[in-house]
Symmetry: C2
Subunit: 424 residues, 2 copies
């Protein structure tokens, strides 16, 4: 991603559809103080002495986290996920949750991680750090197909490898924007049970998306096949760096005792970060308490905002790149129902060179989808992120993007005609 | 350490010399709000707009950290360590700094980590997580001897292994309480240069200890042989979970370019925790700003307090266990000049069973030194921590401890006499 950063620095006036950051309009510095105060008051109201409140904020805390009860309550209220607080580990963002989970689950050199591809770079990075082989399962236009996952499982088995887990972002995936259907969710759970596979569910965009939600995989999980990874970066704020993992799988520990996978994750966490900062947990807890424990209620405003931004982007694309032109030039995009991203398919190679032309000549930046493919793929696709942009920037950005696409698509069409001329 | 936790829970009325936590008497919940406010005001005074302040607190930040300039300034002011901010990575406690450093430095299966033993469990834990072999170099009574480090280096070389780095806590070591002399510091730096070894310097107790300080290894480092690991857990507060690493070693990156080791650590950090929480960094920055950038000045009160606690512990031991009795029974202790810990040597096996007798029959808890030995060793030693105790608890605790030691030492003396009777 270094090239992307360089381009962004070199063209500061470009409109950027690259960053997956939340919109800052919801944030107010004073709210931070209010969140912390609310948590302090909550502890005091629960009977904590002045000294106990001080200890909760200042000292080392339990490795698995201080706010597990509040998280469990919000999972129940918002997601219909019913798990005991003991199955939760509070982490330094979803990233640490991924690292701990991979370190705990992958023991043998033959263990491989399946990922839906294109794929969030956090999980492939954590796998690389731990030298865990990653096997991509390519998404189809509407998202990953269960048959493709099963084929990958069987192919890996045939090579003597053990597919240990599948990583998937079921809702409004980063980077593609796709959402798995209810049917595919059921199929995946069934497949996981049949092939002794775990599913790593990472779904950070659910509560900041408009409209009804399909059930989280974890809420449908009757056989403890799903390890659910959570993030408060989008629902509370990124600067807290608080995430969590629900790992209610029974495991046998070194001493032969029975416990939960969560306890094993906490043991590993003690060697990575020791604790998640008490201060960050306090700020997140304050936000969880703001809407009576419902993070969905807390995010009603942001969900409306992101929904409107998504509609604005889709409408602008539709207006600037009408259907006839798109069909003639091989340009298309998917229509996510939420999240921060969509996939734009283009007839030319959307690589770093194309990005440089786009930024330099048209003043618009985006992410080559190839960056999100663990192996090859995505050469003709672009990730557009709309999460950090206001409505005017979206309008302006799509204007510029349409200019870029028209130039590139025309050139591509000319190239194709020439090539076709040679070939036939 | 699980057994220790169990014992602590089972005997809540025991005085515990086990935890290495800071004393809470310095902390006030309202100070947290004041630290954050001070940092917000500092940013505003430096010209940051309301929106820029909000971004600094709420958003994802630079992977290497937001407060590197303030840290560099305090290292210069307090420690005479002059390094550019670019050589610093802000981490989630010293623990993450250790993990990143080990991951970056240890590339070959033949690479081994030397540690001064007994050894802080954070570093051996991080090494275990990364499957890095650890070679202990046993401390002598006054601390590690350079000749022993050199012997270990040569022995490992002879076995075809490459000693890559030595981990050491030069000042008031956890667990032993020992401090390296100025001469040993110079010798270690010389040895590191001769044997192409790096030194991982971890020194969290320097600024909370009384009296003059010997120079930090990093301040004497003319050949960039020292990676300096820092922690704000003792100097600011543990709940922030902020540490840092100074890594100004030149390295060649994957693309063949020249850079600093710090940049490589940041790259690894992006796969572990992405950022250190902006909120935690803000609280620490507020504390750094409180005493005009001097952390030593900020900690003048705590340093006096811990110095007094150490003297109280040494005085109480001296009174309760007079010299004649100690000599006759083979009990002794070292006399640290600061830090949180001292080593008590005993004539009996100071194992979990002895700890249980101590807690159950005498109401006093401590840590078996054997817990801190990566291999064997420490069976006749105890770590006493005085950091979290007030003066009355120290008096009462030593009373109980003396009772326990007298019973055990008498039994041990009787056993020795019997054994001697058989043997001679």
């Amino acid at each position: 991603m270094n090239f992307l950063n360089e381009v962004t620095e070199r063209f500061p006036d470009a409109v950027s559809f690259a960053p997956g950051r939340p919109y800052e309009g919801f944030f107010d510095t004073e709210d931070l103080f209010a969140h912390l105060r609310r948590y302090v008051d909550h502890l005091a109201a629960g009977g904590a002495s002045r000294d106990a409140v001080r200890t909760a904020l200042y000292q080392y805390g339990p490795t698995a986290g201080r706010i597990r009860e509040l998280i469990a309550r919000s999972l129940h209220t918002d997601e219909g996920i019913d798990v005991p607080p003991e199955s939760i580990v509070v982490t330094v963002g979803a990233q640490e949750a991924m690292l701990l989970t991979l370190r705990a689950l992958f023991a043998e050199p033959s263990d491989v991680l399946l990922v839906v591809s294109p794929c969030y770079v956090g999980i492939t990075g954590a796998a690389r750090l731990l030298d865990i082989p990653v096997v991509p399962v390519e998404e189809r236009a509407e998202g990953v197909a269960c048959a493709d996952v099963e084929a990958a499982v069987l192919a890996q088995r045939a090579r003597g490898r053990r597919p240990r887990a599948l990583y998937v972002v079921p809702d409004h995936s980063n980077p593609s924007g796709n959402t798995l259907s209810r049917h595919t969710r059921e199929e995946l759970l069934d497949l996981a049970a049949r092939h002794d596979l775990l599913i790593l569910e990472d779904s950070p965009y659910r509560l900041v998306s408009p409209g009804p939600r399909l059930p989280a995989l974890k809420s449908l999980d009757r056989q403890r096949r799903v390890v659910h990874i959570g993030s408060y970066a989008k629902t509370v704020f990124p600067g807290a760096r608080v995430g969590f993992v629900v790992a209610d799988q029974p495991v046998t520990d070194e001493g032969g005792g029975q416990g939960l996978l969560a306890a094993e994750l906490a043991r590993i966490k003690s060697m990575v970060t020791v604790n998640t900062p008490a201060l960050s947990q306090a700020a997140v807890a304050g936000a969880l308490l703001a809407a009576e424990g419902s993070l969905a209620a807390f995010n009603a405003g942001p969900a409306r905002h992101y929904g409107a931004a998504l509609r604005a982007l889709l409408d602008a694309l539709e207006r600037r790149l009408p259907k006839e032109w798109r069909t003639a030039h091989g340009v298309s995009w998917n229509r996510p129902t939420g999240g921060f991203f969509l996939t734009l398919r283009v007839p030319f190679t959307a690589d770093d060179a194309a990005l440089l032309r786009s930024a330099g000549e048209h003043g618009v930046i985006w992410t080559p989808m190839a960056h999100f493919h663990p192996e090859s793929g995505g050469e003709h696709a672009i990730r557009l992120s709309f999460s950090s942009l206001g409505p005017e920037e979206i309008e302006d950005g799509v204007d510029r993007l349409a200019g870029f696409l028209r130039v590139e698509a025309d050139r591509s069409l000319a190239d194709t005609s020439r090539t076709a001329g040679y070939a036939s």
